[in-house]
């Protein structure tokens, strides 16, 4: 016990068992990781708040490198990512809109210095293993990035003459400039993989026979779905598969389109098709989707951009027939439907009984889905496929039923997005490395985790804990007349440094964790009183469902955990609802004994080569 005159804090608390929630195990990296909602939601688990702080500090190159190690394509993703991080952002739960995470990533890419000195160098010593990477898209490039510095000899195969895959062929230049692709793909090619571009791989068996130690299949989902309705064959010259058409535009094979265009489909490909058509001469471009507008698969911001380019999106229209006259398309006939749901919430589209709608047009672009296709993989060499035609792939190791063959990206589990492909690439690279080192690929290397106190003084922290009340900023756009006049003029201009600073300040620093040491707590209530969000309660323990209802503010968001301490001196426990914590650090500032501390939790996922 302490001397007279000192705060008596030693050996407090009681270990007597109390019914209720067990104390939270903060030594488990998953606990604090989940509190960093954006990082948890990101398939590649990019440490988002870490790089946002660097952007706020004007350290763009450092911010870029945090991204580069994690997601490989910061400049590309900063323009095209599906942003699973943003719906997860805590800011949306405590204010209104999430932090513009994706566009901040782009700021790091736009304003960084030359970072080539910071990139890994080509391996000077090779380890003798040869890995084939089929398809030079984001998944394969990630595998190459991770394996090349370790000394693996990687061979990139692609049907196109340039590496990049769908990033190059499917995303229009007005969303993603060619220089950005060249730069970031170039960083990987700088690691000196062997390139076999411009010709298709026709046989996996032949590839394996060539003696590769491992084959990674990252061929994406290159096959656009067709729409087999009457008139399709007769009007074939005027009905294009959206994906193929976008690729043809990208390669410069298609330079114009007729004036009246109908785009079928409600995904991001449909949005890219209609906006591209507007730029190639389409004057009346209409998007028709089967489902309700609210259920469209396209990202909300892509829909918004399409609408702002005078492209009407008509919903609840099921295409029935291509109308044609003498081999010329004249229009599309649609049945009008409405959405109904059964007791299980299953959706069905029911005809409304109204007369069919005919939209007159000269060209139709079909963008109703895409799928993986593996005509080049022999079915008798040990790679099993399921009834949907997808390979049987282990979701942890990304290994197929053939010990040397791995899958990733859209080729593994169907169409997702770039960031998912990158995440797959990292995991597959780890597996390939483990397998070739003779280790069990199911024994995954743990992430690297650091927990560092941010305390600098009585009321000073190593992070900016003041909570900005600013609303989300809109990214400036090119004036519409100029945007529509060019296929390659980038529509989004990106934040300037000042706008970026304001947006970065909106980040709540969710990675700076509230860490509670119950032995130091004297139960003075200071943290309870100061907490702006009423997150903290000292109370008797109880079962979680019951406890959630009687906290200072009810903890109704079941996706968010409760942080529960072991019993304190009074027998009560500290319960913190993580849901809407602002990470402002006021609890720690007001704590007289340091029982609360703000500690930065930095989690970096394992990479190939980790031991």
């Amino acid at each position: 016990m302490s001397e007279i005159g000192e705060l008596d804090v030693a050996g407090r608390g009681t270990d007597a068992p109390v019914a209720g929630m067990p104390p939270t195990d903060i030594a488990d990296p998953a606990y604090f990781h989940k509190v960093v909602d954006c990082q948890w939601a990101c398939p590649a688990h990019t440490p988002v708040p870490e790089y946002i702080r660097l952007i706020a500090a004007g350290r763009y190159a450092d911010a870029y490198m945090v991204n580069w190690w994690s997601n490989v394509f910061p400049g590309i993703l900063g323009r095209t990512c599906d942003r699973p991080c943003e719906p997860a952002c805590r800011r949306a739960r405590v204010e209104r809109e999430p932090v513009a995470i994706c566009r901040l990533k782009r700021v790091a890419a736009d304003y960084k210095d030359d970072i080539r000195d910071r990139l890994p160098r080509p391996a000077t010593a090779k380890n003798g293993f040869r890995v084939a990477l089929v398809g030079a898209g984001p998944a394969s490039l990630t595998v190459a990035r991770d394996l090349l510095p370790l000394g693996y000899h990687c061979v990139l195969f692609d049907q196109d003459v340039r590496a990049g895959g769908m990033i190059r062929t499917q995303i229009p230049r007005f969303r993603l400039p060619e220089e950005v692709i060249d730069e970031e793909v170039g960083y990987i090619l700088g690691l000196e993989p062997e390139l076999r571009l411009g010709r298709r791989v026709e046989s996996l068996k032949a590839l394996l026979d060539e003696g590769f130690d491992a084959v990674f299949v990252g061929t994406g989902a290159p096959k656009g779905r067709d729409l087999e309705v009457p008139g399709r064959r007769e009007a074939a010259a005027h009905v294009h598969i959206g994906m193929e058409w976008l690729a043809a535009v990208s390669f410069g094979h298609v330079k114009s389109i007729a004036e009246r265009v109908v785009v079928l489909g409600g995904g991001n490909t449909a949005m890219d098709c209609c906006r591209t058509a507007r730029r190639l001469g389409g004057k009346e471009v209409t998007v028709a989707v089967r489902s309700a507008f609210a259920e469209m698969k396209a990202s909300p911001w892509e829909i918004e951009d399409a609408l702002s380019e005078d492209i009407p999106i008509l919903d609840h229209l099921v295409p029935l027939e291509f109308l044609h006259e003498g081999g010329k398309l004249t229009g599309v006939r649609f049945r009008k439907v409405r959405t109904e749901r059964d007791a299980q919430g299953r959706r069905s589209l029911v005809p409304t009984g109204e007369p069919d709608l005919v939209i007159r047009c000269d060209v139709v672009l079909v963008a109703i889905g895409q799928e993986a296709a593996f005509p080049w993989i022999e079915r008798d060499i040990g790679v099993a496929f399921d009834r949907h035609g997808l390979p049987v792939v282990d979701p942890v190791t990304f290994r197929s039923t053939h010990p040397k063959v791995f899958f990733g990206g859209d080729a593994a589990f169907g169409p997702k997005n770039i960031i998912t492909a990158v995440a797959h690439g990292h995991e597959a690279a780890i597996s390939i490395d483990l397998v070739l080192r003779g280790l069990d690929p199911l024994r995954r290397p743990p992430p690297e985790v650091r927990l560092t106190s941010q305390k600098m003084g009585l009321h000073e922290w190593a992070y900016d804990n003041e909570v900005s009340l600013e609303a989300r900023r809109r990214v400036p756009h090119l004036p519409r007349s100029r945007a529509l006049a060019s296929l390659s003029a980038e529509v989004e201009l990106g934040f300037n440094p000042e706008q970026a600073w304001h947006e970065a300040e909106r980040c709540l620093n969710c990675d700076v964790q509230t860490v509670f040491t119950r032995e130091l707590c004297i139960e003075c209530d200071a943290c309870v009183d100061i907490c702006p969000m009423d997150c903290i309660t000292f109370t008797v323990n109880g079962p979680e469902a019951e406890l959630r209802g009687r906290l200072k503010a009810p903890a109704r968001n079941l996706d968010q955990p409760l942080y529960v301490s072991a019993p304190l001196a009074t027998g009560r426990v500290m319960v913190k609802d993580e849901d809407v914590c602002l990470h402002c650090g006021l609890c720690a500032e007001r704590c007289p004994t340091g029982a609360w501390d703000m500690q930065k939790f930095l989690l970096e996922t394992a990479r190939a080569g980790c031991r």
């Binding site: 007279i4 008596d8 003041e466 909570v467 003075c524 009183d529 602002l582 402002c584 007001r590 007289p592």
Partner: protein, 351 residues
């Protein structure tokens, strides 16, 4: 060194009271007291009590003297009236304000230095006159602003942070308040809001002099071993005689108790103070018995807390003086200065 303002953002599911306000709307400026100060918890309890009673903040006048405790009115009810007076003189200013405008709710906030030393006389006379008010002493037993000397409420034999033993007898403000005729007397602890918030609510609804002695550990100078006003000591020696539940007029009574477990004390405005007995024989409406109990238990080293005394049909200074129902500050010159003839009449009555 700066303190961040408390962020304006609040919990999305924060409850609202009948006025449509959340408890955040009852806050004041950010506190500049030491981290962990018991006084901040008392401010939070006042905020909670006013929120729960649906009191419009501008209906409250906060008055204080000098000291750590007397700084706190800045930290709650930012939109209430406030007067930070001279050291120990809060009771006089409060009495004057109350006489001038009887429509406001008067909340005097003071400390053990402000009320038990320099302002002891003011305290005594304000209580004995029955001014309608809530008088809260945030009692930490030390002079925190001058680095922790014993105050007049420090117990004899308790030790200072440096180990010096206090040789003087303490002033027990609760005993004094009972002796001087306060009609609502309670003691509580800053670390027990479940007890403190209802006591403040009851005091706010009480007519007459309501006095609350709230032990509030000074984390900087008086929270060590040997102190009798530390978190640990108060928790170990707390003898709560009852738990208070405020039943507002027209509000249904929800909790059911066995007969004899509960004492109900009606207030002048229809409020019912419902007291769950924790000490079977304690009768909070018996002033003499309350004083006996208090002295007995203090001799045993126990700190008696709860609603210690309440007079069901209390009166206040205005009743005694027979002042008009309309607040004086709303009367016109004609009513306040009725002229020479009226004065002559008054003088004649005294001849």
């Amino acid at each position: 060194m700066t303190y961040l303002p408390k962020p304006k953002l609040h919990h999305p599911a924060l409850p609202k009271n009948a006025l449509g306000l959340t408890h955040r709307d009852y806050e004041g400026a950010i506190s500049t007291l030491c981290a962990g100060c018991g006084h901040d918890s008392i401010s939070a309890a006042i905020i909670q009590a006013c929120f729960e009673l649906d009191i419009e903040p501008h209906r409250i006048a906060k008055l204080s003297g000098i000291g750590c405790s007397s700084k706190t009115p800045t930290y709650f009810l930012g939109t209430a009236h406030g007067f930070n007076s001279v050291h120990g003189r809060m009771p006089s200013v409060l009495t004057g304000a109350n006489l001038a405008n009887r429509d406001l709710i008067y909340l005097g906030v003071s400390g053990d230095g402000d009320s038990a030393s320099i302002g002891l006389g003011q305290f005594a006379h304000c209580i004995r006159r029955g001014v309608d008010m809530v008088y809260i002493v945030e009692n930490n037993g030390v002079y925190g602003l001058t680095k922790g000397q014993f105050s007049a409420t420090a117990d004899k034999g308790s030790k200072s942070k440096k180990g010096v033993v206090n040789p003087d007898s303490p002033i027990d403000l609760v005993a004094l308040a009972l002796l001087l005729g306060a009609t609502y007397v309670g003691r509580s602890f800053s670390g027990d809001k479940a007890q403190l918030v209802p006591l403040i609510k009851g005091a706010l609804r009480h007519k007459g002099a309501a006095f609350l002695d709230v032990i509030s550990p000074c984390v900087t100078f008086n929270n060590h071993k040997g102190s009798t006003k530390s978190f640990d000591f108060v928790r170990e020696h707390n003898d709560a005689v009852n738990r208070l539940d405020i039943i507002l007029p027209q509000k249904p009574i929800t909790a059911e108790y066995e007969p004899g477990e509960v004492i109900e004390v009606p207030q002048h405005d229809g409020t019912i103070l419902r007291l769950l007995k924790l000490e079977a024989d304690y009768d909070p409406t018996d002033r003499v018995a309350a004083m006996d109990y208090l002295f007995e238990h203090r001799a045993r080293g126990e700190i008696v807390t709860g609603l210690l005394y309440v007079e069901p049909h209390s009166t206040d200074l205005h009743d005694e003086l027979g002042t008009v129902a309309t607040p004086l500050n709303r009367l016109g010159e004609a009513e306040l200065c009725p002229g020479a003839a009226a004065l002559a009449k008054v003088n004649a009555a005294h001849r």
